[in-house]
């Protein structure tokens, strides 16, 4: 994955973000290549979720620049439309539309944004639902599904826009333990397809197996940016050691 021929897809340079007087991100710079799977780790409040939400403009950065596939992340409507088209997102709380069936949850954006016909959108949606193992549930409403099922539908909904980049904001944190694996399995299969993924997670086992890189946030800064073998390996820095110690102790 570290081959130099692969071009930089996401370029983040000197990005700063604060809420009022509290600085959540202090001059973060990082490059991400196409096809990379990045696990973003860190204690709560370290800025990792904010970092993720800057990438599709759910939060706005105050300084620095974010360029995704040549498009500057800004409020310019044409940029924003391109950006949201390229970058999909999966949320901790699923955020499926409760008044729409599973199928209509998947069809809405492709029809309204990509201009697909109803028939095209339905066939795309059914394909994606098969891929996440939800092919039998297309007619159901979200309230009739388990958390794990809802999250798999949410992943399919994001994929229906055919994004190049998928952001995951703690996708398994709201799930009962027995449902975590069904979602992680879908994400593992997805990682193998070559789509670029940025995953904020507390699943250390998953991060070490699937990620190409681990980015570790501490107090609004990127404290480590390492391959998982090194991050989870023997020569940990004290900060990482302390974090992993806490995480493994509390059993998150």
């Amino acid at each position: 994955m570290e081959s130099p021929e692969v071009s930089t897809l996401i370029n983040i340079a000197g990005v700063k973000k604060s809420y009022g007087a509290t600085c959540v991100l202090k001059r973060v710079s990082v490059q991400i290549k196409a096809g990379e799977v990045i696990a973003i780790l860190g204690a709560s409040g370290s800025g990792k979720s904010t970092f993720l939400r800057l990438l599709n403009r759910l939060e706005k950065h105050e300084e620095g620049s974010i360029v995704i596939d040549g498009v500057e992340v800004s409020d310019k409507p044409s940029n924003l439309a391109l950006l949201r088209r390229e970058v999909g997102m999966v949320f901790q709380s699923f955020n499926l539309f409760p008044h729409l069936s599973v199928l209509d949850n998947l069809c809405l954006a492709p029809m309204k944004v990509r201009g697909l016909s109803r028939a095209e959108a339905v066939s795309l949606a059914n394909d994606l639902l098969q891929k996440v193992g939800m092919g039998d549930h297309s007619h159901k409403y979200p309230h009739a599904l388990s958390g794990g099922q809802q999250q798999r539908v949410a992943i399919a909904r994001a994929l229906a826009m055919e994004p190049r980049i998928l952001l995951f904001d703690e996708p398994t944190s709201a799930l009962d333990p027995e449902m975590v694996n069904e979602v992680l399995d879908v994400m593992k299969r997805l990682a193998a397809t070559g789509i670029t993924m940025l995953i904020v997670t507390h699943e250390m086992g998953f991060a070490s197996q699937v990620a190409d890189r681990v980015i570790f946030f501490d107090q609004g800064e990127i404290a480590e940016d390492l391959p998982p073998s090194q991050f989870f390996g023997d020569n940990k820095t004290p900060r990482v050691k302390a974090f992993l110690g806490r995480v493994l102790q509390t059993g998150i």
């Binding site: 439309a81 949201r84 955020n95 539309f97 809405l108 994001a158």
Partner: protein, 262 residues
């Protein structure tokens, strides 16, 4: 882990026919049938209703028209004001709050009298006949109450829904129409129905400026016949029929919009 093989039939985009929808249509049909047959039904009533059935039935239609017109514009005003109050522009919020403050803080009777008598003095171009004046005042009044109902519905839609829609690249207009509105409607429908029932009854205040709606007609007939009991009881029964019809129709609509009870 279901192993059953199901054929996925994509649901149609239009109305989904189900029990709630059928009940709603039935309630609408019965209410309309009673309305259209009102004169014929009242005709069979004993004295003093029978001989005055024509006047009463005509007055019922005035009440219904007043309610429907004021109700329609009241919802439109309510939606605009609710959006205005949620605006990021402070002056717009102030104007909308001022309107709600005035409309809810003064008596409806005074508002009706004001539109009919005072408005033409202030602005001669705004001189309306008695029916239009009553409709304008009722819409003005109910709009403020509707605004609060609609605002609470809009606020009840979780922020995550709007974020998810933005993340999918949907435009703000699409988000409002396809994501926010359907969810808000379920929350604001019950208070809107309450407001509608109040409106139907409050339309009787149009009596004060001479509109011959149901209460006015009943009052005229009882004073001409000196039989207040049958006349007033009959008009009360007609009001009850109308409010029951209205709540039945909207109850069915509410069930139809509720995904969980489908």
């Amino acid at each position: 882990m279901s192993s059953s093989v199901k054929v996925c039939v994509p649901p149609s985009r239009g109305l989904k026919i189900n029990n709630s929808l059928l009940k709603g249509l039935l309630a609408t049909a019965i209410t309309l049938a009673i309305l259209f047959a009102m004169e014929a039904i009242l005709h069979f009533f004993p004295n003093p209703i029978g001989p005055n059935s024509k006047e009463l039935a005509a007055a019922v239609w005035v009440t219904v028209k007043l309610t429907v017109m004021a109700g329609f514009f009241g919802v439109a005003i309510g939606t605009i004001i609710a959006l205005g109050k949620a605006s990021t522009l402070p002056p717009l919020r102030w104007v909308c709050s001022f309107y709600v403050w005035v409309a809810r803080g003064t008596p409806l009777l005074l508002q009706i009298l004001f539109v009919f008598f005072a408005l033409p003095v202030l602005l001669p171009s705004l001189e309306f006949n008695d029916f239009t004046s009553a409709a304008v005042a009722l819409a003005f009044n109910i709009g403020a109450y509707n605004a609060e109902a609609i605002r609470s519905g809009l606020q009840s839609v979780p922020k995550g829904q709007i974020e998810a829609a933005h993340a999918l690249g949907l435009s703000s207009l699409t988000i409002f129409i396809n994501v926010v509105m359907p969810q808000a409607l379920r929350i604001c429908l019950p208070p809107l129905v309450n407001n509608g029932v109040s409106l139907l009854k409050d339309s009787s205040l149009a009596y004060a400026i001479g509109v011959v709606e149901l209460s006015n007609a009943a009052s005229r007939i009882q004073s001409a016949t000196f039989e207040p009991v049958p006349v007033l009881v009959t008009s009360a029964l007609i009001y009850l029929t109308l409010t029951t019809g209205l709540t039945q129709v909207t109850n069915a609509l509410e069930r139809y919009l509720s995904v969980e009870r489908r």
